[in-house]
Subunit: 216 residues, 2 copies
């Protein structure tokens, strides 16, 4: 059965998924990029940016689960780009260049309608103004028997957790403090929402945990 998954979602020791003061230069906010230090050296990421010779091992094995068996993606509008409010710059086509690493439909949550954008390599960005349930319905229809992956960011993952629509959430806890920014879990009672910690793989650079939703 098709599942809804989140992968490679990095948080700080104090629970932040992004730092404060997000800008075009620092899209993850001050200090936010450091949360992903475990990910950048991996073979998975290095291949994504056209390199070879990345690290193998547990971090890479876990990182590489992202995208596997996935037929459609959902992301928040702030993950798609730095523009807030109306689409004043229609030339913005995401952070990922002409051939984004999704190779399937990507449903972008936004309050501002925009025509779909077909990219190279099979990625098409669709802009969904009807909320998280509409985006999920469209992503599931597009994915068919395959899984739906939620890319992020914090606000999007929080909304889907609260709606109990995520089956599997991989968190990478980085050995960093952020102090402020976007907190992933504050105010969400994951136990009451039916989640448990199903796996725990610590490495030298991150602690990987997978939270899964028990059937209710």
């Amino acid at each position: 059965m098709s599942r809804v998954r989140v992968h490679n979602f990095s948080i700080s020791i104090d629970g932040y998924g992004a730092g404060p003061r997000q800008t075009r230069e620092e899209p993850l906010g001050v200090g936010g990029e450091e949360l992903h230090s475990w990910f950048f050296p991996t073979d998975m990421f290095q291949r994504m940016i056209g390199n070879v010779g990345g690290t193998t091992g547990a971090d890479n094995d876990i990182a590489a689960r992202s995208g596997t068996g996935v037929g459609a993606y959902i992301m928040g509008r702030n993950m798609f780009g730095p523009i807030r409010g109306p689409w004043t710059d229609e030339d913005w086509r995401g952070w990922w260049g002409k051939n984004p690493p999704y190779h399937s439909p990507v449903f972008v949550l936004t309050q501002h309608a925009r025509s779909s954008i077909e990219m190279q390599g099979g990625t098409t960005f669709h802009f969904v103004t009807g909320g998280i349930h509409e985006a999920m319905d469209r992503a599931k229809a597009a994915a068919g028997e395959m899984d739906v992956q939620i890319g992020g960011g914090v606000s999007t993952v929080r909304q889907y957790l609260e709606a109990r629509l995520i089956d599997e959430l991989h968190l990478a806890i980085a050995p960093k403090l952020l102090g402020s920014g976007e907190h992933l879990l504050h105010g969400l009672d994951l136990t009451a929402l039916g989640y448990t910690c199903a796996s725990h793989v610590p490495t030298a650079v991150a602690t990987h945990v997978t939270l899964t939703k028990t059937e209710s």
Copy 2:
């Protein structure tokens, strides 16, 4: 120079240091005791309760730093016992039996005065009604050249973090979700308070991080 330290402070993935609904039977709240699963098998803990043959290795090495070089302790009144409000039961002398594992003065924060209690093995419980600064002054005077250790619980550690009076805080992040309870760091901006993550030792059963305060 004498330092103020916290050791073996366990929190859940979602940041709780104790679970909800604390009772005499479950002093750490529902699910709270599980946060310490990494600690119970260690040689350090097993010796503390009179056994031999506990585990050695990184978890034990880290656990055993607790108490080393410590000349006085501070703890919150809820860590000392389950009684709330006035001391209706003067027979309560802590959770630890006749010979508590402190072997030095222990300053208990409370709003209700009570005479000091001299226990076996060098532990004396003193009850401090003047707040966290008075407790710290008295603990430092008692410790002399040695360090002061803050035992807990969550509220006590939070207050001393906010006052920037903790030099070193060892957290053990357990691979558990609690969902609710007492959150250790919510609303505290540790970066602004001057803390950084100084060490990171992941093991099969917990992720150990040490946060230290930079001088200002």
